[in-house]
Symmetry: D2
Subunit: 307 residues, 4 copies
């Protein structure tokens, strides 16, 4: 059974690997989960936007959850993205995750029907009542087109105890992170940084508790988060500065660049993205290798980075 998760630290959002025919490649997926457990992440999140969850059918979701839980083998908690336009369907997918051993679910609201603060609150309340594992509230207007105000998020956290974490990715994030943290007077839940870690250092400086994002070198995020926690802020900045060109390049819209890094790291057999997502352009692939050569010169990226 899933134990309580401490949502501090680094929770990589995982890609969903496909073969060249866009069929789920479970072998690569298992390899990625195991790799994450080995490098010391605090958990992983599957079936998020980066995991192309909006291009998956339910039976694929099921096999991915099972594979992740089995591969983690209790070493790290598995968080599962279960957002759906229908509230009942979100509950259904969340219960499926729960029953298969997920430690938590990640949920974000949809702009349909008409967005309404009360309706968004109800959505979270209903999902919370329908399951027994914790919920990560994802605030990501870039994919949802739903703009949750600070007061709305604070109310959800205050009134729904099952909300265990906020994944904050509504830029400008440092300002929102600061506002949320100062607003959580009754009940403080961890706030994690997303958006490919682009604003990572700035969010950490405002009090965020780590990362839940897809940057394909989580070792760097672990090192940064640890440095900040240990009060070694200069070291954290040093890491941020070093990796920033790669962070910027990688977080461009689309998923192919990240998949290519995972492939270059020896974890995926293919960088294939499901249609209608864009595949890696030759131009982008070449430029990726060039920027990696600058940031990680002479480093064997198929092995965990030592930072």
């Amino acid at each position: 059974m899933a134990k309580d998760v401490n949502f501090k630290g680094v929770f990589p959002i995982l890609v969903t690997p496909f073969d060249d025919k866009e069929v789920v490649d479970l072998e690569s997926f298992v390899r990625v989960v195991r790799f994450m457990a080995e490098i010391g992440v605090d958990g992983v999140t599957i079936l998020g936007v980066l995991g192309e969850s909006n291009r998956m059918v339910d039976s694929e979701r099921e096999e991915l959850i099972m594979a992740a839980v089995a591969a983690a083998d209790g070493r790290i908690p598995i968080v599962v993205g279960t957002s759906h336009k229908g509230t009942q369907a979100t509950i259904y997918l969340s219960l499926m995750a729960e029953s298969l051993g997920a430690a938590a679910v990640m949920v974000t609201p949809s702009k349909e029907a008409v967005p309404d603060e009360e309706r968004i609150f109800e959505y979270f309340r209903k999902v919370a009542e329908g399951i027994t594992i914790p919920i990560v509230l994802q605030d990501h207007p870039g994919s949802t087109e739903v703009h949750m105000s600070g007061p709305l998020i604070l109310r959800i956290v205050r009134e729904i105890p099952r909300i265990a974490c906020i994944k904050q990715e509504a830029p400008p994030t440092p300002t929102k992170v600061a506002a949320l943290i100062s607003g959580m007077v009754d009940r403080r839940v961890p706030v994690l940084t997303g958006l490919g870690a682009l604003y990572g250092m700035f969010d950490l400086e405002r009090g965020s508790d780590g990362y839940m994002t897809g940057f394909a070198f989580p070792e760097a995020l672990i090192a940064m988060a640890k440095a900040v926690r240990a009060g070694r802020r200069e070291d954290a900045w040093e890491l941020y500065r070093r990796f920033l060109p790669l962070i910027v390049f990688e977080q461009q819209p689309g998923i192919a660049i990240r998949k290519e890094i995972y492939r270059l790291r020896g974890l995926l057999r293919s960088n294939r993205v499901r249609h209608p997502g864009a595949q890696l352009s030759a131009s982008a692939g070449e430029q990726l290798r060039s920027v990696m050569a600058r940031v990680l010169p002479g480093v064997d990226i198929t092995r965990p980075l030592e930072l």
Copy 2:
């Protein structure tokens, strides 16, 4: 096995009935399908926008398709909405429909990833290659936010033989219907009217071939389409004028009004809409009964209308 469908006439889009706990109510669903077969529709479409397909999980889709096919019992073809943001997932859902006995699928593109005429074309091409039953191309920017130009739709029809019908609901529809029909010089497929039949007469006058929409008195649409086909245009107009207040009232955004009519017709046990969709307001329910009393005074709506 599904025989070829002639997409002329009236194909009601069906609601998905739920009980008061939002659980699928198959018994009511079967009743609706049988009712449609009895009143002489040319087919029915399930799991469209009106069917709240975006709030269903895959196993529910499966049971609804099975129930519809069984209830139709070969008397009318079942068309299944299978649109999904991922192309592979659309194929998967379409194959599921095909294997369960659906006669055709209805497909509309998604605005993610970035809309692009070429990508939309590819989407339809790939789906067409993945299945063996006909495709109804749905053009409904109101739900998809994808604006397909006339030339794009004509190209899709011309180059993808599996496209067997256009469900046209991008207003102003009469103008687009006329443009599509005059543009289909090599290959003419039927064009059906949607949008709750709001522009029904105007589309028919421009050459449309019938209706694929959710108006809860399909008998009126059948009578109108027949009248136009028989050259009795005044009769068609008479019907349009008579039912228009109800058509206007019913096609307001939201689904609850339609479900309430089905309930009042004795077909559904509940008018429940799945969260976060809006339930019927007391005000709207009262007004609905009032407008029905005007349009159908003294008529027993639990029985097929005789028009």
Copy 3:
């Protein structure tokens, strides 16, 4: 100086006439304003969405306001649409209208920057503080993509005395009209129906106070509103039923159909719409004449309708 306006009755939204080179045709505009005064409307609104205000420069706005005020010559109040993405600019345009003799302004919020209930409230508050004439609050998500909740509108009406009227066009409108009217316990302002009068009868039945919309036969709206006020509900319904096919046809997206009706009524020299708006298609023009022949057989539409 502008006297207080009583926002009950019928306030047609006027088109902005152009010649065939898209230059403002003031002569036709003056003719339209005078025609409205003659048929007994309670006021007119210029520079709304229908007036293509989003395609006008400020100097054109100025000459249109001057021309309308002069043509009205004190017989009817002129309401001016002054919405702008910037609050200061809305105030500037509103002050211009005020100084030129407008009786009120019509204002709707913009979705930029990020929509936020507090920011929308502030927008109305600031505009109200910057001017001295009344404000019509327009609730039209179809053009603004801003969804104002009922409680937000009620708060704006309650706290900002300069708000003198609500133009309600967020469907389902009858439900929202009913909710607003029952919610205005402290301060009740008139609620007017928009959206081309599509839901006109239904809104009136829920308590709306008339029309502020662009239907090109305002005589019908005047007659309907009068009939409802006089308790002659059946007469109102008779009119609604009679005109509904034309209302439905006319309110299709785009402006060209309305301009063509005005042209056929002898008020405009051209039905030209400014680029990139769509011009009247030959198909739509033909169909318009056909539906008018049905609704108004043998009627000389260049003269005020007698209803």
Copy 4:
């Protein structure tokens, strides 16, 4: 009269300064223009998104153009953003800019009416026919929600000689820059980087010709562009790496951070943003000073940077 502009190099997009009452502060604006001329930019662009052009009335536009042209005094060309939802209005604003001495205009399409490749093409063609100075085509879906395909942009450049430059800001930009440059076989116009220079180095590596963006230390962009042109790629990378934390922080959504940097540089009297834009939060202001201290330790930023 405006001479032909060579759109290579660095063209800062300027802010529009306001005083604390949101009134245009021309004195500060003149100071900014002169500062830019002194540090050796190749031109400046006013009244872009960053210039809050969507919150300005026409008379303010006029005075800003006059002030910029006067302040530049022939030393640098002034490019003026003149996008408007109406094509005629874009022409009007462009002619105003032209008559006041602007060297070029910057134009981007609007998503209204319904986006359509042909309509976007016509928009540019009509604007080009209406004026005699060059046009910078801006591709910025982030503000316009219009996604122009590569083939569409190439067609516009090929068929409309007045298009003199592409401001490319549809991420992933390096891929699109590469595609555009390889596609411009008949006629090659410069491609400039926007988006706050976030992808600056990557775009330059793919062949872009410089910057047209609002990063508040244009000296860094000038130095980077020069280094790339001179083949000193390592130097360019060194600069990119150094400034990247500031670039990332500054390009967060909103304008207040940039205005604050200009204020700290002694160029603006106030960092005020026009309502409903967000003002600088105390938190963001503090963090900005901290990141500037890291990137530019001990540097007097009120003087041109020497890099």
